[in-house]
């Protein structure tokens, strides 16, 4: 179980890192917007599921707040990405 939890944390950290690399490396604004979607979806998703599993196996408490974090992130992340893209379109950023 310990290995599985560590693996989940590792996957989460990896995708968050890739998202941040994308944010730095990609050439223009619209492409850079794609970076953070990875960090929020799979990255945070696996870190939070690791947290649920950890509390369940080691502290014997079922902690389900994490699911709420995931749900709220999944609701708000696309909205902020959409607003940034829209603002960029209206201020005529170069593609």
């Amino acid at each position: 179980m310990e290995i599985f939890i560590s693996l989940l944390i590792f996957i989460g950290a990896f995708f968050t890192l890739v998202g941040s690399i994308g944010l730095v490396k990609l050439p223009n604004f619209f492409m850079r917007l794609h970076g953070p979607t990875k960090a929020t979806t799979l990255g945070l998703g696996s870190i939070l599921s690791a947290s649920v599993l950890f509390f369940y196996t080691y502290l014997d408490t079922i902690s389900l707040d994490e699911f709420l974090i995931v749900v709220f992130l999944f609701i708000t992340a696309p909205v902020s990405a959409h607003l940034m893209a829209k603002a960029a379109l209206h201020s005529k950023k170069k593609v």
Partner: protein
């Protein structure tokens, strides 16, 4: 008569259920006290805020909706791997492109959910909706075949959403 009265007391039954679940998860307990307090809140809050929600949410096909959630979760994982590879690869190989998707969905909620799903799956971000709510502008990080990509989005995401909320 009874149905009308029920509707004026519970203007948004789906919202009430979601609020109750949120309340219980926030408190992280399923004790009787919290269920009672949560139920009271989930009846009062939709009643006070119903003027902000002109349309009633109506889930017509819960099976399709569950299947849709599973498909999106799977797509998020697969697309994450593909996009991670694209980001770590060379910038010159990327072919970013704007896609214009002609929408068949008419309901505001369906369009919102479709746009959010497109943004959540890595590799595509929905950028703008035309004023007449008929075209959705989507930016894709890497596209080989534009028509095929549009068709995939329409059949994979728009069709089930329309079945759930519109048909």
């Amino acid at each position: 008569m009874i149905k009308d009265r029920l509707e004026s007391w519970f203007p948004h039954p789906v919202l009430s259920v979601v609020l109750l679940i949120c309340w219980l998860l926030l408190n992280n307990s399923f004790s009787a006290g919290h269920i009672v307090l949560g139920s009271v809140l989930s009846i009062i809050i939709p009643w006070f805020t119903s003027s902000f929600w002109p349309e009633k949410i109506n889930i017509k096909n819960i099976k399709t909706f569950a299947l849709f959630v599973v498909i999106v979760a799977y797509d998020i994982i697969v697309a994450n791997l593909i996009v991670a590879k694209l980001i770590l690869g060379s910038n010159d190989k990327l072919k970013p492109h704007f896609l214009e998707i002609q929408l068949d969905a008419k309901n505001d909620l369906t369009i919102t959910l479709l746009a959010s799903t497109i943004s959540l799956t890595p590799g595509t971000v929905s950028s703008d909706l035309s004023m007449d709510k008929k075209t959705l502008l989507v930016h894709a990080l890497h596209v080989e075949d534009i028509d095929k990509e549009i068709k995939t989005i329409k059949t994979r995401y728009e069709k089930p959403l329309m079945e759930v909320f519109e048909s």
